[in-house]
């Protein structure tokens, strides 16, 4: 019985993240439009877009290989599994011990690896430029993320997200310098990883500065739909990650009942709403930067993370 319940909550988590991801993207778009004094598309528009793309036939270039067609499924599956392992409404879900934070980030790396390969598959210059820049950004964002993981793991004494969230919710954590540095670095990495302004513009097309959109330019129909859903999922994953580590309030503990879960879901949705406001406000108030400024941005994130980790190594008090 316990086992069935454990599987059920893990299943709920998987369905929940997949269902909520387009909603979050839609909310960010709506808020952004309102901030720019536009009416903007309805909040539910991403669902309609995804459904429309699903129903259309997929068009692939004549020389597209099997890798091009398999990549959307692989990318979506890897991102979905990663997102299902980040606590949203409850910690200690049945499979939370399957992969720790390092493995979750590496799973996203696997997804990116295949997406970058698919960008090169057709043999166009746009696909190549996207893949090449995506890997540059990743090569800086991943070490920065690893340093953030170091800070969190050294504070909480664990790389398991459930344990980190549990520790952060307890009173043992207190106010720490290294945590503040990690938070800033994590937000910077999240912006870069999700191709948001100022690193990349998710709304742009036909610009030489685009990165993620250039990489997936050849995709259409159900393939494009899955890739867009993966991008939304990844954004939701990072927001949930920041929420569960830095604002672990309302998270249902491991052995709690349905009422705690319901409050957990409500708290999570509230956090998402706040995050959507913050992201929209940030994106409307800043301009996109040149591609070769990106290393400076991410280098700063890396240095912040490294500084935090060094502080933790030097003294447990920071």
């Amino acid at each position: 019985m316990d086992l069935i319940l454990a599987f059920a909550t893990q299943g709920v988590q998987m369905l929940l993240v997949a269902a909520a991801a387009p909603l979050f993207t839609g909310a960010v778009r709506k808020i952004k439009s309102r901030l720019m004094r536009r009416v903007g598309p309805p909040v539910l528009q991403p669902y309609r877009d995804l459904a429309r793309l699903m129903r259309k036939e997929a068009v692939a270039a004549a020389n597209a290989s099997w890798l091009f067609r398999a990549t959307p499924y692989l990318v979506f599956a890897a991102t979905w599994v990663a997102a299902a392992l980040v606590p949203t409404f409850a910690t200690g879900l049945a499979f939370s011990w399957t992969a720790d934070l390092i493995a979750i980030i590496a799973l996203l790396g696997s997804a990116r690896f295949f997406l970058a390969l698919a960008g090169i598959d057709i043999g166009t210059s746009f696909g190549g430029i996207g893949s090449s820049r995506e890997m540059l950004i990743a090569s800086l964002a991943e070490p920065a993320m690893m340093m953030i993981i170091f800070v969190l793991a050294l504070i909480a004494g664990s790389t398991q997200l459930s344990n980190i969230a549990g520790f952060m919710a307890s009173s043992a954590v207190g106010l720490r310098v290294s945590l503040g540095l990690a938070l800033i670095a994590l937000i910077m990495v999240a912006i870069a990883e999700n191709a948001r302004i100022p690193i990349d513009n998710p709304a742009t097309h036909l610009e030489l500065t685009m990165v993620h959109e250039a990489m997936v330019l050849e995709y259409s129909g159900r393939h494009l739909s899955l890739i867009e859903l993966s991008a939304s999922l990844k954004l939701l994953l990072y927001v949930s990650l920041i929420a569960c580590v830095f604002t672990p309030w309302g998270l249902a503990p491991a052995d709690s009942g349905p009422i705690a879960w319901l409050t957990g879901i409500a708290a999570w949705l509230l956090k998402l709403l706040v995050a959507a406001f913050a992201l929209a406000l940030f994106e409307t108030s800043i301009a996109k930067m040149r591609v070769f400024r990106v290393p400076e941005f991410l280098g700063a994130a890396l240095m912040l993370g490294l500084l935090g980790a060094l502080l933790r190594f030097v003294s447990a008090g920071f």
Binding site: R69, A77, V81, D100
Partner: protein, 669 residues
């Protein structure tokens, strides 16, 4: 006893060498020889594996060879057994692959006799139990592999590679010779047992470490001693490249572990720090070299340097923990390093097999001449892709499992008391993460430019799938990469006895843990389950595919390339390896390689094409080897006069030298 069995098979390899010389010009010569090598190495690996699993006692043997009053000592313990498995698994793969690949060999007589000798030499190094046999086997390994590097000696680049390799190999052996001299002392006994007991290492510990790093490190490819490696490994035939890169560098790692962990014993904390920092620098510089390289086999050789760096990070951590009396953490670090040794031997062999197949089928190693091979060589492409994912340390394959363990070891290090370690360990962690991320970029480039896109030349467009032996070998090795990715506990438990023998502690057995979970320290701290991650991804991808095809559309239409409406029909318009690496070259290359880009645009009206030049400077060559070479050349020029003296003067010189040495000796004592 295991050691006798191993020695008999090694002797069989040695006998195979002259047999190979006799039969090499027969048609059946190469299949007979490679089949025999395959059987011998499979037997050796199986025997060593059985020894590891049964947890037997070390066995020794003394043969009446070598120095008359001492004999040649051999010993097989758990550490030797781990490396015998690594060596002979790689050898079995290379032999099986060569059953197909070797048929295309232009000059089999230059390869076949030396191949079994090379295998015998590597086995002898890990079996040797005294300094004399160790050095003799080590030098034999260098020379036999040198002969294989020189197999295609008519290419000028290969001659240079052979020369640089020979110089570096003799230099490395010299350093090891001096190190053993220090360890054994003036009246010393050169048997490893005597060295272990003498405790003489402590007096010169920094000098011993330096000499071992020079000797074993130059063979393994530590920066800046790596320069021969990207020249020599690709010059050999591909199955030998796989052995040199995947296996011989591991024999060098064995030499380091045997001497520093076993013979020298109690380390100082700064030794750990030195090895650790060197490993971190080697990892990052190695992968940056690989990113700048567009020759597929050289890229793989450069990438070996990165993995050697990762292994040395693990070894450095183990030394640091050991010096502070933390055996459990040291065991985790050493297990991670040994597991990475095993993993790297698997995926690097696989990738070299794949590059050999590409080379055979297209005649090109330069990636800029390839492209679109996934359509012409679909099976090679699948196996090569698995190797690329594994080497990029991506879950759920095996490269990730060992890097994950290294990260877990790093996270244990805040409890180390020394300030030098407190500061250098997190910095090394950042370097490790950086090198892992750059490795992914490097292999997106390697796979993407070689196998994806459109063919760039007629040769690439006319490629055909490789032979059945090569394909089978690659698929088996790809399967092993997946197997040890989803069930890392299999390898970790087999490594356990070796770690226990060296450190007196080991990781708790991982196989009995439910769901094949990997728990290096405690479940509260960290755990990873490759099997479940693999199953989850496979099931959710399958579920998504079925759901999308069922609920959405399943129609697909093939059409022309879209490319935002402006597709260029020329395949030259697609991204090349050079353009793929350009952003990374700009960000990191200017710092490390002084990369300089120059665009020459002709004047208006001039129809000459615009030109783009990139110049890179190799910091190791320019900073160390070029000045060293010119110093040697200068000294040789000055000493040239000594060549034309009379016999009287030569005798005087000999006499003066003798007197000078006696005076030195008199003052010394």
């Amino acid at each position: 006893m295991p050691v006798d069995f191993s020695l008999c098979l090694t002797a069989a390899f040695l006998l195979l060498s002259p047999v190979g010389a006799v039969i090499s010009n027969r048609r059946a010569g190469s299949p007979i020889l490679y089949t025999a090598s395959l059987l011998f190495s499979a037997a050796l690996a199986g025997n060593a594996l059985a020894f590891l699993i049964s947890g037997g006692e070390p066995s020794t043997d003394v043969l009446p060879l070598g120095i008359p009053w001492m004999g040649a000592h051999f010993r097989e313990d758990a550490l030797s057994a781990v490396f015998i498995v690594v060596i002979n698994l790689g050898a079995a793969g290379a032999s099986f692959y060569a059953l197909g690949y070797g048929r295309h060999e232009q000059e089999p007589r230059r390869v076949i006799p030396f191949y079994p000798a090379f295998l015998a030499a590597m086995n002898l190094v890990v079996l040797a139990d005294d300094a004399f046999s160790f050095l003799l086997s080590w030098e034999f390994m260098s020379l036999s592999s040198w002969a294989l590097v020189m197999a295609h000696h008519r290419a000028p680049a290969n001659v240079r590679a052979g020369f640089v390799y020979l110089v570096m190999a003799s230099f490395g052996t010299l350093a090891l010779l001096l190190a053993f001299g220090l360890l054994a002392g003036p009246d010393g006994n050169y048997a490893f047992d005597a060295i272990r007991g003498s405790g003489r290492a402590a007096a010169h510990s920094w000098l011993v470490l330096l000499l071992i790093l020079l000797g074993a490190g130059s063979k393994a490819g530590i920066v800046p001693l790596h320069v021969w490696l990207p020249l020599a490994h690709p010059a050999a035939p591909s199955h030998v490249s796989a052995l040199m890169s995947g296996v011989m560098t591991k024999v060098a790692i064995y030499g380091f572990i045997r001497i520093i962990f076993d013979l020298v014993g109690a380390p100082e904390w700064w030794q750990g720090m030195a090895v650790l920092v060197l490993g971190g620098i080697t990892a990052v510089i190695g992968v940056l070299y690989a990113l700048m390289e567009h020759d597929l086999k050289r890229l793989l050789a450069y990438h070996t340097i990165e993995n050697i760096g990762i292994i040395f990070i693990g070894l450095g951590l183990a030394l640091a923990f050991r010096s502070n009396g933390m055996p459990a953490a040291a065991a985790l670090s050493l297990t991670a390093a040994l597991f990475h040794v095993f993993n790297h031997s698997l995926f690097k062999s696989l990738l070299f097999f794949g590059s050999g197949a590409v080379l055979n089928s297209t005649g090109a190693r330069d990636m800029e001449q390839l492209g679109g091979l996934i359509h012409r060589m679909p099976q090679t492409a699948v196996a090569f892709l698995v190797g690329c994912v594994a080497i990029s340390a991506l879950p759920p394959l095996n490269g990730f499992a060992s890097e994950w363990m290294t990260f877990q070891a790093i996270l244990l290090s805040p409890s180390l008391p020394q300030w030098g370690l407190k500061l250098s360990v997190p910095a090394t962690g950042a370097l490790l993460a950086l090198s892992a991320a750059l490795a992914a970029a490097c292999f997106v480039k390697a796979f993407g430019v070689t196998f994806l896109g459109r063919p760039r030349t007629a040769r690439a467009a006319a490629a055909i799938e490789t032979d059945i032996f090569s394909r089978l070998t690659m698929f088996i090795w790809a399967g092993l990469c997946v197997l040890f990715g989803v069930l890392p506990a299999l390898a970790i438990d087999a490594i356990g006895p070796a770690v226990l023998g060296l450190l007196g502690a080991r990781l708790a057995p991982q196989l009995p843990i439910s769901w094949y979970l990997l728990v290096p320290i405690s479940e509260n701290r960290s755990s990873y389950d490759g099997l479940l991650v693999f199953l989850f991804i496979a099931l959710s991808a399958l579920f998504t595919a079925i759901a999308v095809h069922w609920l959405g559309s399943r129609a697909i239409r093939r059409s022309a390339i879209w490319d935002c409406g402006f597709p260029d029909p020329s395949p030259l318009a697609q991204y090349t390896a050079g353009s793929f690496a350009q952003p990374i070259r700009r960000v990191f290359g200017t710092l490390v390689f002084h990369a300089h880009e120059q665009v020459v645009i002709p004047a208006p009206g001039d129809v000459a094409p615009a030109r783009f030049h990139v110049t890179l400077q190799d910091p190791a060559w320019d900073g160390i080897y070029a000045p060293l070479a010119s110093a040697v050349s200068f000294a040789a020029g000055r000493l040239n006069v000594l060549q034309f003296l009379t016999i009287r003067r030569y005798l005087t010189l000999v006499f003066v030298t003798l007197v000078a040495l006696l005076v030195v000796l008199a003052i010394w004592t």
